[in-house]
Symmetry: C2
DNA sequence: CTATGATTCAAACACACGTTTGAAACCTTC
DNA sequence: GAAGGTTTCAAACGTGTGTTTGAATCATAG
């Protein structure tokens, strides 16, 4: 089986999608740059839309399983978990993915932003579905680290995701470690402060019980 | 002069761009929905690209001047300025723009995300140019509120912009005030914490001098 | 070596896009 | 109410897109 063609299409498409967007990138451009015949995309992937989804599936699987593995390590290490380490388990795999996946960093993050922006319905839905259980796991871990209920945490985690996605997309390879460190610190402070604001109601409840 | 057609095109285009993206939205779709002839876009705006820019110009002018006006009020009120109020001056106009500009909230924020993602070079450049002096002003105000140098502040402000843009785009009208409050709190805590980390080097410098 | 299935290739297809055109309709001003 | 400039309109143009096709090439198993 000639899996090489499939892979080369996937790699080239990922790069071009990240640089130019999905709609702006044409199959002719992809196949030319990948040194592959035009019809190869439809033969191996079915359609352009399916190709876009395949590009995401590959990276998202990688990113999310790495995140969950690290979270698991943090959770078994101490209970309640350390907030910094939970956030690192969420943030660092993203930065690793940016730097190691051949080529310039931030490509995949740019890709994520485009996915969010373009072609909303189908792609956004598929990504959200693939993210949901990861988000639940991290929201749970953070809430235990903070000692608060996970109810209002989704909002703060969204702040973090927004900050991560936005900055990673603009961060160069050599700054990426510093940025991650700064983001962990920033996020921890924000989460702890928000937890302080939420505590009064909780402790009131506990006083009744 | 029939300015009505121009405006109706602008309004409809803004909505469709926000919902579907620039590339995915066709002039036929815009003109059909705006009850306007197909050629009207080219007649009134020159081209599709020019239309996209015009849509942004209108909102960005509004947003930035409002931000600067509020910042000015905060700065004259007290010196050094209050960090919370500086952040509110940055965040609240964005939320106002979301809710008041007829139709569903978050539209303009979604638009901003798309602008960032799509058509990178031209549009991103134009927006950044229009944003730069505003960012400078806020970075300056924040640095004075924190009592630190504005050198590394850009990064933290990028965190804030990312969080703002990402969450505003997904926030419904009735939640938008809560979200803004939470974001101000979140951002203040993050900025203060980051300032603490930066101080040692600064104070070392001051000790030498 | 040959037959069978998988893969590549050049060419073409149908379609939708942004834009242009030139005439019609409209509005203003004298 | 006619002239002149502005705006609308239906129709078409050229181009580039994703996809399909059918023959050619390749790999593999009998």
């Amino acid at each position: 089986m000639t899996d090489a063609t499939r892979q080369r299409i996937l790699d080239t498409a990922e790069q071009l999608f990240a640089d130019q967007g999905f709609h702006a990138t044409t199959l002719r451009q992809i196949t030319r740059e990948a040194r592959v015949n035009l019809a190869a995309v439809n033969y191996h992937h079915g359609s352009k839309d399916a190709l876009i989804l395949a590009v995401f599936q590959r990276r998202l699987d990688e990113l999310n399983s790495e995140r969950l593995a690290r979270l698991d390590a943090v959770l078994t290490e101490s209970d309640p978990p350390d907030l910094e380490k939970v956030l690192e388990a969420f943030i660092n795999p993203a930065l690793l993915l940016s730097t190691q996946s051949a080529g310039d960093g931030g490509r995949f993050m740019r890709l994520l932003m485009r996915a969010w922006a373009e072609n909303a319905t189908q792609l956004h839905g598929a990504i959200a579905r693939q993210y949901s259980h990861v988000m639940r796991a991290f929201a749970d871990a953070v809430s235990r680290a903070l000692g608060t209920s996970p109810d209002n945490l989704r909002q703060q985690l969204d702040f973090l995701i927004g900050a991560l996605t936005y900055t990673m997309a603009e961060t160069r390879d050599d700054q990426v470690e510093d940025t991650a460190r700064a983001l962990v610190r920033f996020g921890c402070a924000g989460l702890r402060e928000s937890a302080l604001a939420a505590i009064p109601k909780t402790s009131l409840k506990e006083n009744i019980a």
